[in-house]
């Protein structure tokens, strides 16, 4: 029992509730939400150190012991994700101070942001699969409002599709839970894992596994990503960056959790299916990323490619591939947020998101240009930056698992990633000044500097992750160890 485990959920929830009362005092709202996120970073760092030293931390809500009550479980994988979530949230919040605009701030942007964090952290920490559904819904509800927030035509239209897709997939989630409960009679994930091991995973359990795969793939954008490009390009920059960094990652987390802890007995069937979906996701994402001439669309399709890439680590299920996937997941959260924020700054300065109408931005905004360049090569995985190690380990793991075809696809898709982001860099920063009158003068260099600071922090973090691999490895190894050996998790949850 460790009461600290519940803090990453309670803190944003309470902050969000308090912020509602300060609707007109925007300065107070900003200050409180900043303090809350900084405290969240400190708490999750402390908790991560505890998990490292003392093993998995648990909290049984109301003192009800596991198979019956609701358990919160903080293992290393979840804690790494919570910590990264808090850091990304801090930078996106900082960026939104300058960019989100007064009307949105007055209409509860900051409370909604905190509720989104509640849902995300809750999904990472819960040890009960029905609660995973509940926290998913908390997160989705906040995200529905955030996408529609501001109410421009394109936002209204895309929110409509986004809600429809997600409410259908939530219905399927509930059905999958119903089947799972009737077959196994429990909803605690550790207990589920034991009972699947007893019953043997075949027949009906495989059907349920595939149902979960469909549900989580819809949320993560794995193969079933058709809703993603529209919904992620509609909202303003700061919100789109949070979505790209956090929302699909929650789906990926759920895939990792269910398919390493519960449904890992028949990898020839389920993990083969996941591998195919990952491969198709990478191919389709790469086609999208090179097809468009629009900054937002290119970045959005890069999100899709990364999903395929990370989930391929799950499909291979070797120690190296899982470590690589975890490392790449953390890297991707940080660098996707940075790229979306920088892309938003580029669009803001150029006044258009069409590459053909931009050009020559580097003359007036050299810092923005070089930051974008660094983010782009970090995304593609050039060695001193953080993408490289994860990619290397993923490829090694894939070769160990003898999945040569998918390793090939992933390497080629990395080249397309590099090409697509370099296309943005070359078209917008190099060449003649674009035809559209550059709005940079009116917006002022000072405003832009305020926008660049959070991006610089994220990119600096990416460099630190790349150079400090030695320091990161023990944490990543601990996280991958828990995923590879479910009994570590089960013992920690069910021991008392």
């Amino acid at each position: 029992m460790n009461n600290l485990v519940v803090m990453p959920i309670v803190l944003p929830l309470l902050t969000g509730a308090v912020l509602i009362f300060f609707r007109e005092q925007i300065i107070v709202q900003r200050f409180l939400s900043l303090v809350s996120v900084v405290v969240l970073i400190v708490i999750s760092f402390l908790l991560m150190q505890q998990v490292k030293q003392e093993g998995i931390q648990t909290l049984y809500a109301g003192g009800w012991l596991p198979p019956f009550g609701i358990a919160l479980v903080a293992d290393m994988f979840a804690m790494l994700l919570v910590l990264t979530t808090a850091i990304v949230a801090l930078c996106c919040l900082w960026f939104s101070f300058r960019s989100i605009g007064n009307p949105r701030e007055r209409y509860y942007f900051y409370p909604l942001f905190q509720f989104l964090l509640t849902g995300v952290c809750g999904s990472f920490l819960t040890g009960d699969i029905f609660n995973l559904f509940v926290f998913f819904e908390v997160m989705l509800m906040a995200s529905y409002v955030l996408i529609a927030h501001g109410g421009t035509n394109i936002q209204l239209r895309e929110t409509m599709k986004y809600i429809l897709i997600n409410s259908v997939s939530s219905t399927l989630f509930v059905c999958a839970l119903a089947y799972l409960y009737s077959v196994l009679g429990t909803l605690n994930m550790a207990d589920l894992s034991l009972r699947v091991a007893e019953a043997g995973q075949q027949g009906i359990l495989n059907v349920i596994a595939v149902l979960f795969l469909i549900v989580f793939s819809l949320k993560a954008g794995l193969f079933l990503y058709f809703w993603l490009p529209g919904s992620y390009s509609a909202p303003p920059t700061a919100i789109a960056a949070v979505f790209a960094a956090l929302l699909t990652k929650v789906g990926i987390y759920a895939l990792f959790r269910t398919f390493t802890l519960i449904f890992y007995h028949d990898p020839g069937f389920t993990h083969q299916l996941i591998a195919w979906m990952a491969a198709l996701t990478m191919i389709a994402g790469a086609i999208g990323a090179i097809a468009y001439q629009d900054v937002k669309q290119i970045l959005v399709y890069n999100v899709v490619i990364a999903v395929g890439f990370i989930v391929f680590g799950l499909a291979a299920m070797t120690s190296a591939s899982l470590q690589g996937a975890i490392f790449y997941l953390l890297h991707d959260m940080i660098i996707k947020a940075a790229l979306f924020l920088l892309g938003g700054a580029v669009i803001g300065i150029a006044g258009t998101s069409q590459l053909k109408r931009m050009g020559g931005l580097i003359r007036r905004h050299p810092l923005l240009g070089w930051l974008f360049f660094l983010a782009a090569i970090a995304l593609a995985g050039v060695p001193p930056l953080s993408g490289f190690i994860g990619k290397l380990q993923l490829v090694q793991g894939g070769i160990q698992a003898q999945m040569y075809g998918i390793v090939g696809i992933s390497l080629v898709s990395s080249l397309f990633v590099l090409y697509s982001v370099m296309k943005i860099f070359m078209n917008s920063f190099w060449g003649e000044t674009g035809e559209s009158p550059i709005g940079g003068e009116s917006q002022g260099g000072g405003a832009l500097k305020g926008l660049l600071a959070p991006c610089a922090v994220l990119i600096g973090l990416s460099v630190v992750m790349g150079l400090g691999v030695e320091w990161m490895i023990p944490y990543i190894e601990a996280a991958a160890g828990t995923l590879l050996d479910p009994y570590i998790y089960i013992d920690a949850v069910l021991k008392e």
């Binding site: 029905f130 509800m141 809600i163 429809l164 939530s170 509930v174 468009y292």
Partner: protein, 112 residues
């Protein structure tokens, strides 16, 4: 009884799917509502329909009904109620802004 419920759930799901596939936003929202009712009934049926006494220790009964599916359904109903409410408000707002409730007419400029 379970068989009858299964058929009812199947009908609810097919009605929901049919409504979601139509073009009018109102019908789509009703479709998601009906579909989520189907899934709630599914939880109830899969948990086993009522066969024992209320799950209270003082009742001294030999067979108890499982209380968990009802708790799950309650949570799930609240969530789907909230989502449906928000969806209706959004549909109304977009009708006011965009002047149509036809999904096909919402297309407009793709990447403005």
């Amino acid at each position: 009884m379970e068989l009858l419920m299964s058929v009812a759930i199947g009908i609810l799901f097919s009605v929901g799917t049919y409504l979601i596939l139509s073009r009018s936003i109102l019908r789509i929202i009703l479709g998601t509502g009906i579909m989520s009712h189907g899934s709630h009934l599914l939880i109830l049926t899969m948990g086993g329909l009522k066969r024992g006494a209320a799950p209270l220790l003082s009742e001294q009964a030999t067979v108890f009904t499982d209380p968990l599916p009802q708790a799950l359904i309650l949570t799930s109903i609240v969530i789907s109620f909230g989502v449906t409410g928000f969806f209706f408000v959004l549909a109304y707002r977009s009708y006011r802004e965009l002047g149509t409730d036809d999904m096909d007419e919402l297309r407009g400029e793709e990447h403005e």
